[in-house]
């Protein structure tokens, strides 16, 4: 990729970062101030109502509780029914391992021991690549079965004489929509019901999870500590993840936090399975789109390169003709462009010689006697073989395509020695028209 493109992309992303920060600040700061104020008021009210409790004591106590909850403790005073609950029972530990491997990392359950942290590091070092391979495999399966379905639809589109470029865009959109339906919308409704979240919160959770961001302010299937915390006050919906409105007015207004998921043992594994499928699906979609874009850009560059070569050869032709008329003794003005060419033998036939000073690989007739001809095969070949162009081409073949598409060799030549060490085994496939002139 050109460095200008890269710099532009970098600038764009940085700009995006900063503008996002500004918008978030504008949206959230007022709320934060309000939440902080309300919390302060609640605290003040408590202290006023219970003067025997000192501010300092209360502060320490809250800090301890918060720390403990972060470590997974459950400060349930009526501990008869919930004494067996632990943040690290097998199911939750399984879920935690899962969030490590997928790099989601909710953080709602935090590791406290040094041994645990050390183990986590090594576990992640092995687990993340392992999961990556699994993701690749699952995405492979998902992608190919969906693609077959979409292939049928594409065939229909083509029958309706929709232009191929548009067909590709439509199928990409379709891919995305089906994915969204299956892995975003359906789980949203499921979580709405199971967790008692609002639609926005559920979709927020789904997006944050599937992109592996994983803030942890909402976690599906987490034993709701606060719901278990005060079972006698279930009517006050303190369940983790309750909506902001409920936070401000904790009156019985909604489904309590002890949601049905506590009784449904397969809930967490199902959530995990959904994460896996959703991740695989969107990864494959992103790759698909990325590859298509790359192909389009390469094709455009190929066309531009072909046109450039065309223009250069035409210039060479004209120059040659001009020098011929001047006389064989006159030095060719564009000598530096034509080192490999012998001097034209006969002044009567300068144009018939295939003058391609800047593109020695091109064997197609590139210097027609009538210069303003339509673009010849190098550029046409890019369009004649759409299926090949639209196949997925790996990144490093970028340089190869540039070699094969008749760009000036000199500036690219230095790249060639790098390729063989990196890719020792590149089987040459059936000859492609673009390769005809390339002595690979």
């Amino acid at each position: 990729m050109r460095s200008t493109t890269l710099l532009a992309l970098l600038a764009l992303v940085l700009l995006y970062l900063v503008s996002g920060a500004l918008v978030f600040q504008a949206l959230e700061q007022p709320h934060e101030q309000q939440a902080q104020r309300e919390l302060g008021e609640a605290r003040e009210k408590f202290l006023r109502a219970h003067p025997s409790v000192s501010d300092h004591d209360l502060g320490l106590f809250i800090k301890d509780v918060a720390d403990a909850l972060g470590g997974g403790a459950n400060p349930d005073t009526n501990s008869t029914s919930n004494s067996n609950h632990s943040a690290w029972d097998l199911g939750s530990a399984f879920f935690f391992s899962g969030t490590i491997i997928t790099t989601i990392g909710y953080g709602n359950a935090a590791l406290r021991t040094d041994a645990g942290r050390l183990f986590c590091i090594f576990y992640a070092l092995v687990g993340i690549p392992l999961f990556g391979i699994l993701l690749a495999g699952v995405g492979d399966r998902l992608g190919s079965s969906l693609r077959r379905g979409i292939g049928h639809i594409e065939a229909i589109f083509l029958k309706w004489h929709v232009p191929p470029g548009l067909v590709r865009i439509l199928s990409a959109v379709l891919f995305l929509l089906i994915g969204c339906l299956l892995f975003v919308l359906t789980p949203t409704f499921v979580f709405c019901y199971m967790e008692g979240w609002s639609k926005l919160e559920a979709i927020y959770f789904v997006v944050v999870t599937l992109t592996t961001v994983g803030f942890g302010d909402y976690v599906a299937g987490e034993a709701t500590f606060l719901g278990l915390l005060f079972p006698s006050h279930r009517a006050l919906s303190w369940a983790q993840g309750m909506s902001h409105n409920q936070l401000l007015s904790p009156l019985p207004g909604g489904v309590p936090g002890a949601s049905p998921n506590q009784n449904f043992a397969a809930y967490q594994p199902l959530v995990w399975f959904w994460i896996l499928l959703g991740l695989a699906y969107f990864a494959s979609v992103l790759t698909t789109i990325g590859n298509w874009l790359r192909v389009v850009s390469r094709r455009t560059r190929a066309e531009m390169g072909g046109l450039t070569a065309q223009a250069a050869s035409w210039t060479g032709t004209v120059t040659a003709r001009v020098t011929q008329r001047v006389g064989p003794t006159a030095p060719p003005p564009s000598e530096k462009e034509r080192p490999p060419l012998p001097p034209p033998p006969c002044p009567a036939q300068p144009a018939s010689r295939p003058l391609s000073p800047t593109a020695p690989e091109k064997t197609e007739p590139s210097s027609p006697p009538t210069p303003p001809t339509p673009p010849t095969p190098p550029t046409a070949s890019a369009l004649d073989y759409p299926s090949e162009n639209l196949a997925f081409i790996d990144e490093s073949s970028d340089t190869q395509s540039e070699r094969g598409c008749a760009l000036p060799r000199a500036p690219r030549g230095r790249r060639r020695p790098l390729n063989p060490p990196r890719k020792p085994s590149r089987p040459r496939g059936p000859g492609r028209p673009r390769d005809k002139g390339v002595p690979a």
Partner: protein, 307 residues
């Protein structure tokens, strides 16, 4: 092993995955369960003493109500401690760190949008911003990996090493360099600067940030009552570290995944018979920042080359 049918291979991979998860779960449970229970007991004891001390003037439920509100607020990143003189959550450097954690999919979670507008914007922002940052990462990888392979090539020619060995050496050297510069060094700095965390905790934090897991349970500078300017500098430093470190990590992963051994393993699990070259390349070539990257070049041996 190579004679296994594709389905068997997938099954093997899935089983291995489940076993790994199970192993992690049991080990973590063994390691973390007892301390959590002890903490729980401590907490209960403390709650009991608090209520014993102040139970006379505390009506039932008042304390729970306050605690509930405070803790839910904490889950969303609003601190109930202090009187608000410490740096606000959503000032510009913090917001920048937040958006960076969004775009890099790290997601520390120490701050999360509270308002409905914030959440909706978060969804839209991520949906648009992630592909852009992925494209950027792909572009950077494309540019920088050839640069990185030059020392390897030089060493290979100088010492007459066979290419596979040179590639392995280069990958390992790069990995060690990145680990040293982006994990150990910052961890040491953090450990030295911030008194209350051990070296292991600092390493753990660096690792979890760079791998985009982002548990966020330890975040430097938080709650330590720093001067606001210092706090902001801290956050900007963290931001820079996150972005640069991630880039380095990705380059390392890319270099490693181009090794023939790794590619063979991916191919072993990834091939599923006479699949379309299209599909193979699509799936084995992810650009996700989730470090589940297997580069498109991994599919090169099986593909018809473009040119």
């Amino acid at each position: 092993m190579g004679a296994l049918r594709p389905w068997a291979r997938y099954g093997l991979l899935a089983v291995a995955h489940l076993l790994a998860l199970g192993l992690g779960a049991t080990v973590l449970q063994a390691l973390e369960g007892p301390p959590a229970l002890r903490l729980q007991a401590n907490l209960r004891a403390e709650l009991a003493t608090f209520q014993a001390e102040f139970g006379a003037c505390l009506p039932a439920g008042a304390l729970e109500e306050l605690l509930g509100t405070a803790l839910v607020a904490q889950a969303h990143g609003v601190s109930s401690l202090g009187n608000g003189s410490e740096a606000r959550n959503w000032d510009l450097p913090s917001a920048l760190l937040f958006t960076a954690s969004l775009l890099t999919t790290t997601g520390f979670g120490h701050m999360a949008p509270l308002s409905a507008g914030g959440k909706a914007f978060c969804v839209a922002y991520t949906a648009l911003g992630l592909p852009a940052s992925l494209a950027l990462v792909a572009a950077l990888r494309h540019c920088l990996v050839p640069l990185l392979s030059r020392p390897g090539a030089w060493v290979a020619t100088r010492w007459q090493l066979p290419p596979p060995r040179a590639a392995l050496l280069q990958a390992v050297a790069l990995g060690l360099l990145v680990v040293g510069v982006f994990v150990l060094l910052p961890a040491l700095v953090l450990w030295g600067v911030q008194g209350d965390c051990s070296l292991l905790e600092a390493i753990y934090f660096c690792f979890s940030s760079l791998s985009t897991i982002g548990l966020g349970d330890l975040l430097p500078g938080r709650g330590s009552g720093l001067h606001p300017v210092l706090y902001h500098l801290c956050q900007l430093a963290l931001l820079g570290y996150l972005l640069l470190g991630l880039l380095a990590m990705l380059l390392t992963v890319e270099t490693f995944s181009e090794l023939p051994q790794v590619r063979a393993m991916v191919k072993f699990f990834g091939s599923s018979g006479p699949v379309n070259a299209e599909d193979e390349g699509a799936i084995l070539g992810q650009d996700e920042l989730a470090l589940s990257t297997m580069p498109p070049s991994a599919a090169a041996p099986a593909q018809v080359p473009a040119c």
